[in-house]
């Protein structure tokens, strides 16, 4: 028999066949059914070789493709709402192409040619997995299934592993939350026996899993902390990171640290430098807290104002609707044509009146919010300015320390040079260090280069901080403004839409009455 292609006709036919019946069916026929409205699709015994053309079924919940000759799982990427997928009785060899189906709960791959359980990581909600009549021969595949916390039903019969003597015990032990195995309920006794039998290996496994879990959590926590620091623009300032980076690329500086006395000098320098860094760090956190509070208060106030305005609007609309309904029913009951017309005009006026009221309310809110936003903008900019100023002064202290250190280092270097020239130096110096002490210029240049590198590092850190905080501030203010504009547009659109609808309704009424 010729393999069938999954083309549009096949799909249309299936959809029409499986669609609504009777009166609803007539309607469906009349209107046609869009693929994206289909929730469930059955395509069994169609001799399909390749899954294709399914991308339009975005809202599909249940898909049956069993009893075909499919060889690869593909073309299912778009069906993200899929809950139930049946691919049993096909010719699939590997599990693949299921990474986007995060909502899948029931997966059947019964009677295929699968030899390894893998590539199911995305299916966090998986509850039922049917893998019977396949070619799985390695018992370790079961361990892979431990990650599915909701898995309750599993079938593996008809695989090479199910021949094993220990098969049932093994599965029960390694998947303790499983309720049904191979279509049978696991009784408590079996579970207990299995647990006892495999206790040691499972304990070990659990221990390892716990360890990885703990490590993952720790890493996560560290990442979050770093994110927090980054949000405060003072990341890596709670230690010697900046100081270390200053010396990381500084060849001369490292060489010079071998000079007598420089070691202690460097130690003292580092301590002082780190203290200033810590000061910046703590100050940054505090400022971050302050900015956050400012934003929270602002958002809260804005929300309150909007809420109150909305309540007012809702009240106005409710009042209007009450009156409008009475008017409409009065018009319907009115026999005299001129009176009807007069009343319709009155209703029209009411609608215009409502429109004006709502728009006035909105305009009022816009004005109020604008004022508040401006005040907030000023405050936040001031806050950021203060932060920058203080950070700059602290950074200046760093620079002073560096200059001080530079002077000391220079003095020691020149002394050492003099000693070397006089041949009075007692200590042994490495050759590359000694190479610097050729003449005065070389040594002064070397010390100077080291100094320049250090200053550059400090400047870079400072610049980075300032640029980032400034851009954050601009972004924040921009976002508030755009949000407000968006809100305003949405509200105006909503009002207009509502008024149009009311007006339309009134016009239709007019029309209908004339027809009658």
């Amino acid at each position: 028999m010729e393999p069938r292609v999954m083309d549009d006709d096949l799909l249309k036919l299936a959809v029409a066949e499986q669609g609504p019946r009777e009166e609803a069916g007539q309607l469906a026929k009349q209107e046609g059914i869009l693929f994206k409205d289909v929730l469930s699709l059955q395509l069994d015994f169609q001799n399909i070789l390749r899954i294709d053309n399914l991308w339009q079924f975005e809202n599909l919940r249940k898909l049956q493709l069993d009893n075909n000759i499919i060889e690869r799982i593909e073309g299912l990427e778009n069906l993200t709402h899929l809950v139930w997928l049946d691919l049993s009785f096909n010719n699939i060899e590997t599990i693949e192409g299921l990474d986007t189906l995060v909502n899948l709960e029931d997966l059947s791959l019964f009677n295929n040619r699968i030899s390894k359980i893998n590539s199911l990581d995305a299916l966090a909600k998986l509850q039922v997995l049917s893998l019977g009549n396949n070619q799985i021969f390695n018992m370790m595949n079961v361990i892979y299934l431990r990650r599915f916390k909701d898995l309750r039903t599993l079938s593996l019969s008809g695989n090479p592993i199910s021949e094993a003597e220990d098969y049932k015990m093994f599965v029960c032990a390694y998947l303790p939350d499983l309720v049904y195995l191979d279509f049978r309920r696991i009784d408590d006794l079996t579970r207990e026996l299995a647990e006892v039998k495999h206790q040691y290996t499972i304990d070990e496994l659990k221990h390892r899993e716990d360890l990885t879990q703990a490590q993952r959590e720790e890493a996560q926590a560290r990442r979050e902390e770093l994110e927090e620091h980054k949000a405060a623009f003072i990341e890596h300032l709670d230690g010697s990171f900046l100081f270390d980076s200053m010396y990381a690329e500084d060849v001369e500086g490292n060489k010079l640290s071998y000079l007598p006395g420089v070691g202690e000098l460097l130690e003292a320098y580092k301590d002082k430098f780190v203290i200033i860094c810590l000061n910046i760090f703590e100050y940054g956190l505090k400022q971050q807290e302050k900015r956050k509070m400012e934003i929270d208060t602002f958002n809260e106030c804005i929300q309150e104002a909007i809420q109150e305005n909305q309540e007012q609007g809702k009240r106005k609309i409710a009042e209007f609707e009450e009156k409008h309904l009475l008017n409409l029913s009065a018009i319907r009951d009115e026999p005299e044509m001129p009176v009807i017309e007069m009343k319709i005009v009155e209703c029209g006026e009411d609608i215009t009146q409502l429109f004006n009221t709502l728009m006035t309310l909105e305009m009022q809110l816009v004005e109020q919010l604008e004022e508040t936003i401006n005040i907030f903008e000023r405050n936040i900019i001031d806050l950021v300015g203060l932060f920058i100023e203080n950070v700059q002064s602290l950074m200046a202290q760093c620079r002073d320390l560096e200059s001080h250190h530079h002077e000391k280092l220079l003095e020691i270097s020149i002394n050492t040079l003099e000693k070397i020239v006089k041949g009075e130096l007692d200590e042994d110096l490495p050759d590359d260090v000694r190479a610097l002490f050729v003449d005065k210029d070389t040594i002064v240049n070397a010390v100077g280069a080291s100094h320049d590198i250090h200053l550059l590092k400090i400047d870079n850190r400072e610049d980075e901080l300032i640029t980032r905080v400034n851009s954050w501030c601009t972004h924040l203010v921009d976002k508030i403004h755009t949000d407000e504009i968006m809100r305003n547009r949405k509200r105006v659109k909503e009002i207009n839409q509502y008024i149009d609808h009311m007006q339309n309704e009134l016009d239709n009424l007019e029309f209908g009455d004339i027809l009658d």
Partner: protein, 804 residues
């Protein structure tokens, strides 16, 4: 001591026997009493008439005289004085003589009235501090209420003089009547027993107080609790609070307006005040010619002990508390507790308003005995007197011992006892009526009325109490959990209140008529109902239901009924329900659904076949989606049935969606709504049935009015035990009779059956008898054991010495 114990036993024995034989003894006794008293009435009446010629006595009652009391049964301490008491009487006599010498213009003191055995007893020894075994009587207000309820007031023989007799509290409790001195002595004993710093006060008071006349007082039950005005905390405006829109109203005009309003208000207030004054004037009592001379006795509770923050008076007749500055109290002669006796040396020209109750101040209060634990002058600049008091106590201990010439002897009065039955009965014969201003309060003991009525408050429109305004009836132990019935006579509205536990979870039922399909409102304990119904209101044409906590978020359902279609059969909701015209249902927001798909209100216009839906409003929107379905069954030009046309569903969508435009979607939605309409109609019909059922149940309950008896209520369950035994015996006798008659015709099997039944019944009867007897036997033994234990307790040896 030995004698005493025998006495107690004897009495107990006697009481037990009587209790078994005839539980209605108190009634008979009082009857006896009354008979004897009538022989005295002529002279008594004449005497009274002379003295109280112009006074109306609201509560008549014959005073207790020594003739009616069987003094032979009273303990020895009642009949004779111990040497110590004799000595005390001498001291008192001496004190009295000195006093009359020093203050010749003052009334002689009341110090040692005669008791029921004609023996003079000093006032303080008549107070017998007792802590009652009932937790209800631990606080002063309940104590006072009990005394005032339990005793019947007898006016003083001479309203201008203190009585010459003062009986022991045990006698007073036995006969349940007494004058204000008896009331005060009993109340004071109880209050001191439960730790209060209480004193009996002898002095002068207003006519109303002396005669227990409450007709000029507003009933405390009618007073509405003062509304607590919640001062709304003004939240300081937040930093970014928006500025209010500019106010465009003229301030001047506003000011003028408020000025005008205020003037009107002031005028109104003035008018109201004048009105009030006029009414007050009309209600005022006629002036009393004996004002300020009427002798009264009441209780003073001083601050300090039992966390009493401020000293106050209790009138024992009415159980009301007054401030020490109250205008009803016109003067104090003396006051006493179980330890000492003080004479007031302060001027009472301004009633009790200026009196200072610092009993340690010898200038203001002259004491009889030196060296009791009160005599500390409170110095005004003493801030930490609490601490000082303790110190002084310790320091003065030795001093006092030296100086103390005499110590108050122990009370001669027997232990005050109130039996649980008497305590439950509350009032003499279990019934009491109090007349208030424009109100009458009636009280009954629980289980006295077969319908469980315990209290009734009738409010009147006028002072003469002829036009009833409303009646409130309180019930207890009702099987149907009815708690309060409120009947408004002017509007005809009845409101019944229920405690939790009614079979239909009813909480409040207000109605004018018990007929169905009338104005009524029923409130329910919604947690006890599966459907979460809180309230159901009815008018002849509508029914409104309110719900809470339902899984389908329904909160409100309103049904409009049309006129009933005439049928030949009987008209009732069950056989021929009224047609429903309109059903309105409202739903709370279901957070699991998006607002555009969560219906807020749906209206089924049943006659027009129209369904209106209003959806919830989105959080950031002011308009909500609406949809209206109109079912038209029409046929198109070709004769085919039109299933669905676009004009059958008119919708307004806040955010237009693709799929809702489809006819199929609309058709399915409409079909679903049709089904739900059916369900709603069914539920409405069920509600109607339920109303009928509740009304029927209520009627049955009102007729049956069953009372519940707690399983802890040993008295009533004892009765039931006896009853059971009697039943059991009767049945056996019947069976035996039957056996005698049919003995000849019986088969062996029947006979076996009968015999086994007999043996079983006998066994049950025997068990019941045994239980009863064991209780009878065990009780006295237990009492004896307790007494033995008390006797041997080293801590109580001191007390026993006094008795010996």
């Amino acid at each position: 001591m030995e004698v005493l114990r025998e006495k107690v036993e004897e009495e107990e024995e006697a009481e037990r026997e009587e209790g078994v034989e005839r539980p209605s003894r108190p009634e008979k006794m009082t009857k006896l009493l009354r008979k004897e008293a009538t022989t005295l009435t002529p002279e008594m009446l004449r005497d009274m008439e002379q003295k109280l010629s112009e006074i109306k006595v609201p509560v008549p009652g014959e005073p207790l005289t020594s003739d009616t009391i069987d003094i032979a049964k009273l303990p020895l301490s009642y009949r004779i004085n111990t040497p110590k008491e004799e000595q005390l009487l001498q001291v008192a006599d001496n004190f009295s003589r000195q006093y009359s010498h020093l203050c010749p213009d003052r009334v002689p003191l009341l110090l040692y009235p005669l008791n029921e055995c004609e023996v003079p007893k000093f006032l303080s020894t008549t107070i017998r501090p007792t802590l009652m075994p009932y937790p209800e009587l631990y606080n002063w207000d309940s104590c006072a209420q009990f005394v005032s309820d339990f005793l019947t007031m007898v006016p003083l023989p001479d309203p201008l003089k203190p009585p010459t007799y003062l009986y022991s509290s045990t006698t007073v409790l036995k006969y349940q009547k007494g004058n204000c001195f008896d009331f005060s002595t009993l109340l004071c004993s109880m209050l001191i027993g439960s730790g209060y710093d209480a004193y009996c006060v002898s002095g002068y008071a207003s006519q109303d107080l002396c005669l227990m006349d409450l007709t000029r007082e507003v009933c405390p039950l009618t007073m509405k609790a003062k509304e607590v005005v919640h001062e709304e905390e003004r939240v300081p405006p937040k930093k970014y609070a928006i500025k209010p829109p500019r106010d465009l109203i003229s301030r001047f005009e506003k000011e003028q307006e408020t000025k005008r309003q205020e003037e009107i208000k002031i005028a109104e207030e003035k008018r109201l005040r004048e009105e009030e004054e006029r009414i007050m004037e009309a209600e005022k009592a006629p002036p009393d010619p004996l004002h300020g001379l009427r002798v009264h006795c009441w209780v003073l509770v001083l601050s300090g002990k039992r966390e009493v923050p401020e000293s106050f008076f209790i009138d024992p007749l009415t159980a009301r508390s007054y401030s020490t500055q109250d205008g009803h109290f016109l003067g104090i002669e003396s006051l006493w507790n179980h330890k000492n006796y003080w004479v007031n040396m302060q001027d009472c020209w301004n009633g009790c308003k200026d009196l200072v109750f610092d009993l340690g101040d010898p200038v203001r209060w002259e004491y009889l005995l030196l060296g009791t634990d009160k005599p500390h002058l409170l110095t005004t600049d003493d801030d930490d007197d609490g601490v000082n008091d303790d110190d002084d106590d310790v320091e003065n201990l030795g001093k006092e011992d030296e100086e103390k010439s005499f110590d108050m002897p122990y009370s001669w009065v027997e232990q005050i006892e109130i039996s649980p039955e008497a305590f439950e009965t509350l009032c003499p014969n279990g019934k009491k009526v109090i007349q208030y201003k424009r109100a009458k309060l009636e009280k009954w003991a629980p289980y006295l009325n077969s319908n469980g009525l315990v209290c009734r408050l009738t409010t009147y429109e006028d002072l003469e109490c002829t036009n009833v305004l409303e009646i409130k009836e309180w019930y207890q132990n009702r099987e149907d959990m009815l708690e309060l019935k409120h009947m408004n006579k002017t509007t005809g509205l009845n409101i019944d209140y229920f405690k939790p536990g009614h079979p239909q979870a009813l909480r409040v039922h207000s109605y004018k008529s018990m007929l169905p399909e009338n104005d009524r409102a029923m409130e329910f304990y919604e947690s006890a109902r599966v459907d979460g119904l809180i309230k159901r209101e009815e008018t002849p044409k509508t029914m409104t239901e309110f719900f809470r906590g339902r899984p389908d978020f329904l909160s409100y359902r309103h049904i409009d009924f049309g006129p009933r279609v005439k049928k030949l059969t009987l008209n009732s909701a069950e056989s021929n329900p009224r047609p429903m015209v309109k059903i309105t249902e409202r739903f709370r927001r279901n957070p699991a659904k998006p607002a555009d798909e969560d219906v807020a209100e749906r209206v089924f216009l049943i006659v027009e076949e129209r369904i209106q839906l209003r959806y919830h409003c989105r959080d950031d929107h002011i308009t909500a989606s609406k949809r209206e379905f109109l079912r038209r069954t029409e046929v198109d030009s070709k004769g085919n049935k039109i299933i669905m046309t676009p004009d059958m569903c008119i919708s307004f969508e806040v955010e237009p969606m693709e799929h809702t435009k489809k006819l199929l979607y609309q058709y399915e939605a409409m079909m679903k709504l049709k089904n739900e309409e059916k369900l709603s109609r069914h539920q409405a019909w069920e509600s109607e049935l339920e109303v009928l059922e509740i009304l029927k149940l209520r009627e049955e309950e009102e007729e049956g009015h069953m009372l519940t008896i707690s399983i802890y209520d040993t008295k009533r369950n004892e009765k039931s035990k006896e009853y059971r035994e009697a039943m059991e015996t009767q049945e056996l006798q019947k069976k035996q009779q039957w056996y005698q008659e049919n003995q000849v015709t019986l088969t062996p099997e029947d006979e076996d059956l009968y015999l086994s039944y007999c043996s079983q019944a006998m066994f049950r009867i025997r068990i019941l008898e045994q239980r009863l007897n064991r209780h009878k036997e065990m009780a006295p033994l237990k009492y004896l054991a307790l007494e033995e234990k008390l006797y041997k307790d080293p801590r109580l040896v001191e007390l026993l010495k006094v008795f010996a």
